[in-house]
């Protein structure tokens, strides 16, 4: 357990709790993507770089994008169109 591992684990726990507690679903998905990035760093520290590559591509990339489209389909992303309303 190096210092870096402990720091990454701490951030990982923070991200995991913040994903559950975030009020906005969009924010929750973004925190989840950050969680995946931290997880990929942790995989490198655990000496499995191939898993790290997959985690970075799937967890932080593709899964997040799929969540975004789902939120868009559910109209869960609130767009602030203040400029258009004022016109």
């Amino acid at each position: 357990m190096t210092a870096l591992t402990i720091i990454v684990l701490g951030f990982l726990l923070t991200c995991a709790v913040a994903t559950c507690l975030a009020k906005d679903l969009l924010v929750s998905v973004i925190i989840f993507m950050a969680y995946s990035l931290l997880m990929s760093i942790l995989w490198i520290l655990l000496q499995s770089p191939d898993l790290a590559i997959t985690e970075a591509a799937v967890g932080a990339g593709v899964t997040g994008i799929l969540f975004f489209i789902t939120l868009k389909k559910l109209h869960a992303i609130k767009v602030k169109n203040n400029e258009e309303k004022n016109r």
Binding site: P49, D50, V62, I69
Partner: protein, 332 residues
């Protein structure tokens, strides 16, 4: 007899405290007799009185129901929500305790005396590079010793893509004309996606070639460096999705259509099955493939591992991309 039935029904549906009282229910049963006896006027007067009473009773009943609804929407919902939250917290804590307890009883990480360090792992580590020709032992394991498992995994990906197609794909044309649902989906997609975003397009123009090239590098160098078909395919799929997001369906349709997906996935799976069919037929044990393993560490080495990696990578890339397009628009 009728009175008794009415009484039983009343008790069954309203309980004992019904606003419809007994003689009212009884009078409902007496109707035919009163018809024969009384004159028309008396009947009408009786009907009027009865209607007023029934109306009043119905209002009372509505008031009762309203109060029940009010209770269930205010304090009832609160009680159920509190119960739900308590149960959720208790379940969560229980699962956390169970998992921590399981982790506590696991053998220490990386200990040479662990039960997974047996003769199988020793054989893979000692003779893997020699027998498979792959420097990356993970790829040597999953694509040579355990090629049958990887074939199953690739087929699972293909099956997942197929079921997503069954569920989400819209019919894009009928008798040569685009269908109504397809046109609506295209309009909704064009409406919601901001097109010609300069920043995104510039970033995509820079990044997409690098991402695709890196994905290809990871796939082709699967037997030398960390990575392989799955990770490289995921990277290439992510690159394609970025390109689609930046430039839209019109540009991607030039090189990736539904037909492309069909043929690439089909031929990749068939190639995989063909290359390994003899090994599978004889029990999926590790066999001499007949192709020399070549020099350790060269790109063109390790027998069938390089083409198998490319097959797996293509299937993963197509599956990722098709998942994205299906969820976004309902078609490639």
């Amino acid at each position: 007899m009728k009175k008794r039935i009415a009484e039983v029904l009343r008790r069954r549906f309203y309980g004992d405290e019904s606003p419809l009282d007994t003689d009212m229910v009884a009078s409902l049963g007496e109707q035919p007799q009163s018809l024969t006896r009384s004159s028309n006027e008396a009947l009408e007067a009786l009907e009027g009185v009865r209607e007023v009473r029934v109306q009043r009773a119905q209002e009372q009943e509505h008031e009762m129901y309203r109060q029940i609804h009010k209770w269930s929407y205010s304090s009832g919902v609160k009680i159920i929500q509190r119960l739900y939250r308590m149960l959720a917290v208790i379940t969560c804590c229980g699962i956390i305790m169970f998992l921590l307890w399981t982790v506590n009883t696991l053998p220490p990480f990386g200990d040479p005396g662990n039960p997974d360090n047996n003769e199988v792992a020793a054989r893979y580590v000692e003779q893997g590079p020699e027998e498979t020709g792959a420097v990356n032992m993970v790829t040597g394991m999953i694509l040579d010793y355990r090629a049958f498992d990887t074939f199953g995994e690739t087929t699972v990906l293909f099956a997942a893509a197929c079921s997503a197609l069954f569920l989400l794909k819209l019919n894009d044309h009928k008798d040569g004309k685009p269908t109504q649902s397809w046109l609506e989906a295209e309009y909704a997609d064009r409406f919601h996606e901001p097109k010609n975003d300069q920043i995104l397009q510039f970033a995509a123009r820079l990044l997409v070639p690098i991402i695709l090239l890196f994905g290809f590098y990871v796939v082709v160098n699967g037997h030398i460096t960390p990575g392989g078909g799955f990770s490289g395919g995921a990277i290439m799929g992510a690159g394609l999705i970025l390109y689609l997001n930046a430039f839209g369906f019109k540009k991607t349709e030039r090189f990736f259509t539904y037909r492309t997906f069909q043929w690439v996935t089909f031929s990749a799976l068939i190639t995989y099955a063909g290359l390994k069919s003899y090994s599978f037929y004889t029990g999926a044990n590790h066999l001499e493939s007949g192709v020399s393993t070549g020099t350790l560490g060269n790109i063109l080495s390790a027998g069938f591992i390089l083409p198998l990696n490319i097959c797996v990578g293509l299937v993963v890339m197509c599956t990722m991309y098709v998942f994205y397009t299906l969820i976004r628009k309902g078609g490639v």
